[in-house]
Amino acid sequence: MHIPDGYLGPATSGVLYAVMIPIWITASNIVKKTLKAQQVPLLGIAAAFCFVIMMFNVPIPGGTTGHAVGGTLAAILIGPWAACIAITVALVVQALLFGDGGITAIGANSFNMAFILPFVGFYLYKAVSGNSPSGSSRRAIAAGIAGYIALNSAALLTALQFGIQPGLHHAANGQALYCPYGLAVAIPTMLGEHLLFFGWVEAAVTALVVRYLQKQDASLLKPGGAR
């Protein structure tokens, strides 16, 4: 899901940087007001988890690979705004140091994985959890459902950004200038593989870690407790 350099035209990468700047500023302002000093290590743990879980490329035999992001888990743990900052930092390090995701696409990749993903995941988790107690299995299931849908939401947006490129930018001879696949290929392929494979990995990881945290220290999962 890490869009490399060259797959998005300047219009798309520019717009998504422009969209992310106010989101990053808002995230800083909100985290400034809500984050407690003792939560700073949790911020580090969430960012580290997202970083390393994205290195676990899951193969579709004979096909492509994909991975979980851990963004819903981060949002459940530290809130969606802090998760936005944590995932953004992980994505920037991946792009700059390891060339995983392009530097021109940091806005786009952050929009998909550090904004859409944690926010969809967080509010879905809250909605499905309802008023259930912090140790209830309903919360673990809610986390899994939220993780599944959130990862697929991010995959859909990534596919949209890929898919609009041939229409936006093409040479006189019809050749694409950036991503060569349109919406009719990008959406079914990217969404299909995430619905069938990678979404389940995200769901399992999110639900299992939430279950583990419930047993260790359920206060971390209290509604509004850790944020």
């Binding site: 060259g6 400034k32 290590p41 580290a48 390393v52 900052i85 390090v93 700059l96 060339g99 060569p180």
Partner: protein, 111 residues
């Protein structure tokens, strides 16, 4: 033990296991992620290299591309796994340092 300490241990275990994300795709003959192909793969897939893509693809030269040291591509899965673990450690260390620095700055400015 504090739960945060346990979570750090969990991260350490994930770091050591991270080469699975390298070796398993290799074993199951799975290629790049969709939309993350190199230029030669694109050429094979669509028959040409989009001009803008070719121009922008090399805009950034990462120091440890694809979590492997430069020139290690031919060294085999064992050495690449070591590079992968090293990358995970370095990446986590820098990510945690940066995010906790941001976190501390934000928390402090409030007080």
């Amino acid at each position: 033990m504090k739960v945060t300490a346990k979570l750090w241990i969990g991260l350490l275990i994930l770091t050591v296991l991270s080469p699975l994300g390298l070796v398993l795709p290799e074993h199951f003959k799975a290629g790049a992620a969709w939309g993350e192909w190199g230029l030669d793969e694109i050429q094979k897939l669509v028959g040409y290299i989009p001009r803008g893509l070719e121009r922008l693809a090399g805009v950034w030269s990462a120091p440890i591309p694809d979590y492997a040291f430069k020139g290690w591509k031919e060294k085999g899965p064992g050495m690449l796994s070591i590079a992968y673990i090293f990358s995970a450690i370095a990446g986590i260390a820098i990510t945690v340092f940066a995010v906790m620095l941001i976190g501390k700055m934000l928390v402090r400015r409030d007080k």
